[in-house]
Amino acid sequence: MLFNEARFFVLFAIAFLVYWTLRTNGPRKLWLLLCSCVFYGAWDWRFLGLMGLSITLDYGIGRALAATPTERSRRGWLVVSICANLGILAFFKYYGFFVDSAIEFLQALGFAPNPRTLQIVLPVGISFYTFQSMSYTIDVYRRGLAAVKSFTDFALFVAFFPQLVAGPIVRAVDFIPQLHEKRWWKDVRVRACLVLFLVGFIKKACLADNIAPTVDTVFKDPAAFDAAANWIALVLYHVQIYCDFSGYSDMAIATAGLLGYRLTLNFDFPYLASNIAEWWRRWHISLSSWFRDYLYIPLGGNRRGRWRTYLNLYIVFILCGLWHGASWNFIAWGAFHGTLLTLHRAWSDRDRADTRSSPLANVSKWTLTTLFVLWGWLIFRGEGATKTLTMFHIQTGLDSGGATSLSAWWLALIAGGLALHMLARRGVMRRPIESLPDWGFALAYGSAWALTLPWMASGYTPFIYFQF
């Protein structure tokens, strides 16, 4: 179930009303857990069992870590947790990829392996909830967090429906204490949550989903389009993936907020970043900080010399790429970003005194960063190495491309979107919204939804004439 589906609105309305009508925290948490199961089960109820297994395993290991005094045993439990979590993730997400890659490799060597592989359905959100659950056992192992006593609390931490399928990846240390806090309706920032949900909805349902068909068309056959169209499609994908992902995160944060819970900020205007390190501090923050805290720093971070730092960056970003999906293009994307970060790091190490910040320098840095992020998306989204290279060649003039163009209106829309992005960062709309009286906000909010829904990508299909 997605946040822009009609049935979500029905479920959330019921969840919200019952939640705030219940008088105590215990029943409320049980209610939220039930709603989370319905939310996840709406996709495929059979995978509730898999999530249940993950929850039970890490809850049990958390309890075992709390009860085990010796470091060796504690380390053993942690290894069990990591192996079990990554094992489940590897089986459901990467099994087919690794088997197919091995078969291709063996075929390239002249062998003829049996190509039959098990077809496995990828459970929605498995990457998110596995990382979330793992963060708990690691934090308990590090003694940064007390093991949770209540199974309901732990299950709700993993399965909390606003962030279950697409993040943000919530840390146990951030979320579990909230389960014990007093929760008052008067503390809910209703207006901010409502506005954030609408903004997220517009990004996801009106922008990303409407852009998608054009992007898909060009990426499917880049050779049929001219250079400008190939560039426009890439920039549109840049917009699409941001609007899709950050829009969903906005809705998740807003939905949780209306239930009195705080989720981590996941995007902080990444497309305004002026270098790649800054970009990663602003893009999918909950994931990049997870990798930083649970992988990069344990690997030694930047404390073991320059070359080890570079190696650590490569390892982290290749795994970060693999986290996004079981495909070579994600690994290549991760390696590409690892390279960019290594180069940026090397450049920064050489030129620490460089603090130039003239407008021209800033624009140049932003342009260069955006260009490389765009090419990163080309690797990420490209449909196979051949088409990716074709698109790159057409964009850079190495190939002439086809005759088909895209409307120049897209450029105007992109420019408009960038301007809005910059205005949003300055918070220009915040003050007018906050200064509205309650009735004025109600009028404005109702009108805003009425003007938004006509622009939602509704899955409109042309009428097909059957011989009625």
Binding site: T21, T24, N25, A442, G446, F463, F468
Partner: protein, 363 residues
């Protein structure tokens, strides 16, 4: 630690009322603003629906008879021939074929009520194709087409939901169908996804190549009728080829119609409320509803059973191979389901003869 945290407990009743009022203000604003936006949503253009309705609307006080239904009415009734037939019988009348290809029962009902809401002054008879109130199976691939969204007004959706729950299907399927109808009603009510169509329409740019199934001139000179013989191109050509390639199948289809018509019918679950609401809407503008079964490719036992009940609108039944064998022979057929021009001309003359007594009564 658990706390008593009922959000209403520490909120004075006046504050609660104020908050509920704000929710109501927001909701009402949303509904009203959506209604305004909905007013800008153009009618669906596919297969000439909008063109026909616009033509009818701009000439609404010129017609005495209107024909509503699917392509079996659109391609089978030539208003000019009906008018001439009536004239031979001393009746002056002008009729218009408002039928559109692909119309289903509820869509026809919605179109009919939209036409009647224009309060046409001269309208005396509405000839409406008898189609089942079947909201459970006819979406085919058109579930979220603009035509399907178009007829899902709250009133029409309510009738559809009643049909769904009266149908003999599983509870799970009823729930799924009801949800689909409710979603379509929401899409209609809040103009969901219609923004691009509104803007393109305002700019005079239609994206639909089938916008004008009939030009203004064709609508004017043909009174809404167009024989399929004139459309030997595209998908229509395939229909013709299908018939010629499957003559044996056609013969078998025709042979099965009498048995289908004679099949026992249980009207216990029939949506009489929908039929009565349709009849009332026609009577309200001072006209009379006549139901018609054009020559088709399957039996209509439910319509015939209703026709045998005297209290329901008169039924003109031409879907009978025994009484009208010529309509079921290749010479007068364009394809498996429709008449060709020759067939349509003959049927129109016959309709004129059958309508004459009703028109005399109406005059």
């Amino acid at each position: 630690m658990t706390q008593s945290i009922d959000f209403t407990a520490h909120m004075k009743s006046s504050r609660l009322i104020a908050r509920v009022s704000l929710v109501l203000v927001g909701t009402i604003t949303f509904v009203l603003a959506s209604a305004i936006v909905r007013g800008f949503v153009p009618w669906p253009e596919e297969y000439g629906l909008r063109a026909k309705f616009d033509y009818f609307a701009s000439h609404k006080d010129e017609f005495d008879i209107a024909y509503v239904g699917s392509s079996r009415v659109f391609r089978s009734i030539d208003p000019l021939i009906v008018d001439a037939g009536l004239r031979e019988r001393g009746i002056t009348a002008r009729s218009f074929n408002l039928a559109v290809g692909g119309m289903t029962g509820f869509e026809s009902d919605h179109l009919l009520k939209a036409a009647l809401s224009l309060q046409p002054k001269r309208l005396k008879v509405i000839v409406l194709e008898d189609q089942p109130w079947d909201a459970s199976s006819y979406f085919l691939g058109n579930t979220f087409s603009s035509r399907s969204i178009f007829w899902h007004s709250p009133a029409e959706t309510w009738l559809a939901l009643k049909s769904v729950f009266a149908s003999e299907t599983t509870a799970a399927k009823k729930m799924a169908l009801s949800w689909t109808h409710l979603r379509l009603c929401a899409m209609k009510s809040f103009a969901i996804g219609e923004g691009p169509r509104i803007v393109l329409d305002r700019l005079g740019m239609s994206r639909d190549p089938l916008r004008r199934a009939l030009s203004e001139d064709q609508l004017s000179s043909g009174a809404g009728f167009q024989a399929l013989d004139e459309l030997i191109a595209g998908e229509f050509a395939d229909w013709r080829k299908n018939l010629l390639a499957r003559t044996d199948e056609f013969t078998a289809i025709v042979a099965a119609i009498p048995a289908q018509n004679a099949a026992p019918v249980d009207l216990a679950n029939y949506n009489f409320a929908a039929l009565e609401s349709q009849n009332d809407a026609v009577v309200d503008v001072g006209a009379r509803l006549v139901r018609i079964l054009p020559p088709g490719s399957e039996g209509q036992p439910e319509a015939l059973e209703l026709g045998r009940r005297g209290s329901f609108p008169k039924l003109l039944d031409y879907n009978d191979p025994a009484r009208f064998p010529a309509y079921f022979q290749l010479d007068w057929r364009f394809d498996l389901h429709h008449l060709n021009r020759a067939g349509a001309e003959d049927l129109s003359r016959r309709i004129a003869a059958d309508l004459a007594p009703l028109m005399r009564g109406a005059n």
